[in-house]
Subunit: 421 residues, 2 copies
């Protein structure tokens, strides 16, 4: 998910209304946090800190590009098994999961995603820099995986009992073209699809953040096609790279509202066969998001107009005697928007926990695996894994300073226990 | 090389002057073409036509991307050996070659290039369409290779004797980033570097064309680098894909002279890791050529200005708090210009042969393996392999109608025999 968290005026207002409604915290957060078993689990988290850091490094250094999570999944499966879960297995989509039994049949799903955005060949060696660990993917979302493992061990060590079953999942396909395939499979096809009643994704930043809004996004691959030819002999005919350049230049000049936050990106470009050939096709992958469905719709329309104009411009600027430039605009990602209301029991119980730890709850909206349950009407939130910055860049880092890292784990554990009531 | 051939006013004038100087053809073209051994060789070429077409198809269907010519080279080596050459071998660069002995130690090198512009995975299956064969690379320059084989067999069958040795070479690295590495190795490092006195590349179109000018080109890979980040979380920072798009859009709008012919191309674009990441780097491969060194110099300067402006534009348009966009402009190809004068014995002997066959000689300028010997002061020309069109595109074709194909082979053989005097 994104490295930033947004405080939305509308959510803050909603939170205030909800706070009025919820004069009596409905979740027993204080009771949970004050219980002997939670205190024992908290102590364990502090003792388990070194192992948490070790596993975070181990997992980070196993590459997990989109659609290539297998190696990391295999290691994570062993770690889940060692943590004491039952029914540990890999589903048909590649998600690795195991169950911690409660008293009831209702099930809370807790996810952290296995995949990173980084392609094969990326140097994923972890570099230490004081209390910071630096490596691609170390925060997003490998820290979520390592946090999940230490929490499970803490629950085991402290013999924590929960009313509901908890399904812990290291899932595939959260990033990019994965298009939430792991979460989709889990909730639409997997063996627990009819048992999961609530959903927590560990894929955010600081522990005060409660992401209850699903940020809608549209992703396209635009392929510009033309006749191609010799760079010298056929010079003067239309060139799809020129059309794409024109489209990118126009696209980059679009204005979007800062509020509701609306964004666009050209993330991948590729195409052409050799420096001395006019390409027959080139493509670009485009990501557009907005907190507002209307703003997103307008942005998508502007983007499509830009592509049409660029194609027309190139076909007018050069010869089409061998053929015209055409653009194939293919939808490659479509994440629904929506929200789990602030006054819902899941958000309220997380809010109460956060307050119990003396933190200020901040509601937000993002694009994570929670988009899928939210679109299905299931209560879902995304919670913090601890501080990390520069997600999706090669200089990504996460801070594992011990006191704050242990506290982050305690808060996350308490949120999960409160949600499993 | 390019599929078009240029008639240059200056060359035509030079040719007229040369024609005055050469009232008596210096090459004995008519004597060669009228000799019994040439007539026997000509008859053989007609009888060998089916094998020529069969080998053209066989070779075309062995992929030979730049730097990956090995498989085709291995087959071609067997074919050279079967044709009756001696000292058939592969040199350290990957060129496949063999010698046909003459009486003297002076050596004519005759080349056709093994490589195509097409990457691995391209469908190179040959489709027949009347007398046309359609496949990527079938003309440029696989027909040159097949033509070389049938000519060698014809010389053997007719017991043709030449004064000089002839070195036949299926060379690597003519296309794109190969940057003429095969010809460079042959002339600068290979075992025959001090023996080669003249040079013919079979890499042109129709048989009247005599390419005696070396077209200068400059090729660059421009890598746009930036901090990168999450497409949503880090939105607002500079994006190297946007800078590149702006550069391509401006570059495509440059005006270049039609005469002297001057061209530019963006042939390959690549970069970025995922749709939802702002790239840390993207790159484009650019090819620029001109018949005029001055026009090329101006175009290169304009191109470099465009890159600088696009980088500055992006750094001004978005936040540079995480870092700026920078462009690394790397020279990846530099083909020298120059010419073998029309009045030189090599061009004059080829001219006389072409006229003997009733064709009109047309001098031209192009970018081929001949650029290297020309830059070294060695006489060199590029001659036709027979008609083909749409070079460097997926719908490339060559016409193998029997009468014209046999005549094309006869003309090429006579040019070679005249040059080996």
């Amino acid at each position: 998910m994104n490295g930033r968290h947004l405080v939305l005026a509308s959510c803050v207002i909603a939170a205030s209304i909800a706070a009025l409604r919820a004069q009596t915290p409905p979740t027993g957060a204080e009771a949970i946090v004050g219980s002997p078993s939670f205190l024992a689990a908290s102590d364990f988290l502090a003792r388990d800190y070194d192992r948490f850091v070790r596993e975070l490094i181990t997992l980070t250094e196993i590459p997990a590009p989109p659609f290539k999570e297998t190696a990391r999944a295999a290691s994570f499966l062993q770690m889940l098994r060692a943590s004491g879960l039952v029914d540990v297995e890999t589903d048909a989509e590649g998600n690795v999961m195991g169950v911690r039994r409660g008293a009831n049949r209702a099930m809370l799903a807790v996810l952290a995603h296995l995949d990173t955005v980084f392609p094969e060949g990326t140097d994923v060696h972890v570099k230490r820099d004081g209390t910071k660990l630096r490596a691609p993917g170390v925060g997003d979302d490998t820290r979520g995986l390592a946090l999940m493992l230490t929490m499970i061990r803490a629950m085991e060590a402290a013999h924590v009992q929960t009313p509901n079953d908890i399904l812990f999942v290291g899932n595939v396909g959260e990033e990019g073209e994965g298009d939430l395939r792991g979460a989709k499979y889990l909730l639409l096809k997997g063996k627990y699809k009819d048992r999961i009643t609530s959903f927590i994704s560990i894929d955010g930043g600081d522990q005060g953040n409660i992401t209850n809004g699903a940020l809608g996004s549209k992703r396209y691959r635009v392929t510009f096609k033309g006749p191609g030819g010799h760079s010298y002999g056929a010079f003067g005919i239309v060139n799809p790279a020129f059309a794409m350049g024109e489209a990118i230049a126009k696209f980059s000049g679009l204005t979007v509202p800062a509020n509701p936050k609306t964004t666009f990106n050209v993330g991948v470009v590729q195409g052409g066969t050799s420096v001395n050939s006019i390409p027959t096709e080139v493509s670009m992958d485009v990501d557009m998001r907005s907190e507002s469905p209307d703003a997103l719709k307008k942005l998508v329309a502007d983007f499509q107009a830009v592509v049409r104009e660029a194609v027309a411009h190139e076909n007018a600027a050069r010869s089409t005697k061998e053929g015209k430039i055409e653009a194939d605009v293919k939808l490659i990602g479509d994440r629904p928007s929506g929200e789990t209301p602030v006054h819902s029991p899941l958000v309220q119980s997380a809010t109460a926990v956060v307050k119990t730890f003396g933190l200020t709850p901040r509601y937000g909206i993002s694009s994570t695996d929670s988009n899928i349950p939210i679109s299905l009407g299931l209560p879902a939130i995304t919670i913090g894994r601890g501080p990390s910055e520069r997600s999706h860049s090669l200089d990504e880092w996460t801070d594992v300073e011990k006191t704050s890292a242990v506290k982050a784990a305690q808060v996350a554990l308490a949120i999960i226990l409160a949600a499993a009531q």
